[in-house]
Point group: C2
Chain length 235, copies 2
């Protein structure tokens, strides 16, 4: 994911889009492998987009798609793929409708890299521009979140299955059971998150696998290993 924005690098705004994307992608089994925050400058954006597009299955950008002079993400994505910018007729029609007499302000937004396609964006009128394996999203969190949510379906090919166990015993007490579980289920992703000062539980264990039946077996096995009295609840 490439986050475009001087306002983030200068600390005026905290980026929340990458955190949202990380959580939502994780839920559907997609491993986010990289986030880069770059300034509103052509070459840093283009270099990072080119790197992500060739290294990973797909890339998202966030920010730099408005009507003002410093919104250059579309131009940078075009540069990354060696394409020119062209007016997209469907975007032009929508923008003429929206901007009306202020059309000269909006017309920059009708220009997309040659070969770009438009994706429906749920209940948002304005579609999401895609070039090859790069999806170009806006920086405003509410719109970013709606647009990404509308795209998630196409990425959800191989979701993680997840269980959680909350224990009243600390990590020292349960470590031996965790290790025994991992010996029998070496492919289980087992996370252990101690919590300080919570009256309800002391450790949250997360069990994850892309194989649902493997996860169920590992989950039941660990529950049998753990002393009954330390298990507060399961999810």
């Amino acid at each position: 994911m490439v986050v475009v924005g001087n306002e983030i690098l200068s600390g005026k705004v905290q980026d929340s889009n990458s955190y949202f994307a990380a959580r939502e992608l994780r839920k559907i089994g997609v491993a986010l492998k990289r986030v880069a925050v770059v300034p509103d400058e052509l070459k840093p954006i283009a270099d990072e987009v080119a790197y992500c597009a060739r290294t990973f299955d797909f890339a998202l950008t966030s920010g730099g798609v408005g009507p003002t002079h410093d919104d250059i993400t579309l131009e940078a994505v075009a540069l990354a793929f060696g394409r020119r910018l062209v007016v997209h007729p469907e975007l032009e029609r929508m923008i003429r409708e929206h901007f009306k007499e202020r059309i000269e302000t909006g017309m920059r937004m009708a220009e997309v890299p040659e070969g770009a396609v438009l994706n429906a964006a749920g209940n948002l009128r304005y579609p999401t521009v895609q070039l090859e394996n790069v999806y170009i999203l806006p920086g405003i969190p509410q719109i970013f979140e709606s647009k990404l949510t509308a795209l998630l379906g196409r990425f959800a090919t191989d979701p993680y299955f997840i269980h959680a166990i909350y224990t009243s015993a600390g990590e020292g007490t349960i470590a031996e059971y965790l290790n025994r579980c991992l010996l029998s289920y070496p492919d289980l992703l087992l996370g252990s998150y101690p919590r300080i000062g919570d009256p309800e539980y002391r450790v949250k264990l997360t069990l994850e696998s892309k194989d649902g039946s493997y996860l169920e077996r590992a989950f039941r096995y660990l529950l049998e290993l753990l002393p009954e009295e330390v298990v507060v609840k399961t999810e």
Copy 2:
């Protein structure tokens, strides 16, 4: 800045260290040019550290410096510079003192890339490791913040001077004055941040320059241009 951590890429934790660093560096006039979040894997960390170290004046890393098997940032920084890991005698002494009988757990933390130096970290006992222009900081926010704060003095060579003007008029009303100010002071960094629903003001203007007297002149000039009744307060 290179943020190391699977827990951030998987959305389990929101990174706050890059936001803290962006704000603190900005205050002392340092422009943060890039943030990359990478997984706990040698090559992605090493590649990104190498890129930042050769491209920018200095680089920070955050995370991956604890005693467990997945803490590999020091090894990755060594790889980025083609150095080997060596035990640092001063670190070894401190770690022996701290870990006592659990010394085998901590000894990994005494290994640093050959040629690394130690920097005092304010009132923290454990110093900050530096190799060339790379400063290696931990991921735990409280410790990251203390360590970075202790280092800031050495980066503060060329601070920005900042003024703010809060107006009761909207952007449409004041745009003409802002443009006239920029014609006379083209090097001024002028930001305009509308606020919705605040009874106190409608727009916050920020004026920034590395030249203090230039900033003072631009600030007074803009105050003279603006109708007196629209200026709510200044900073």
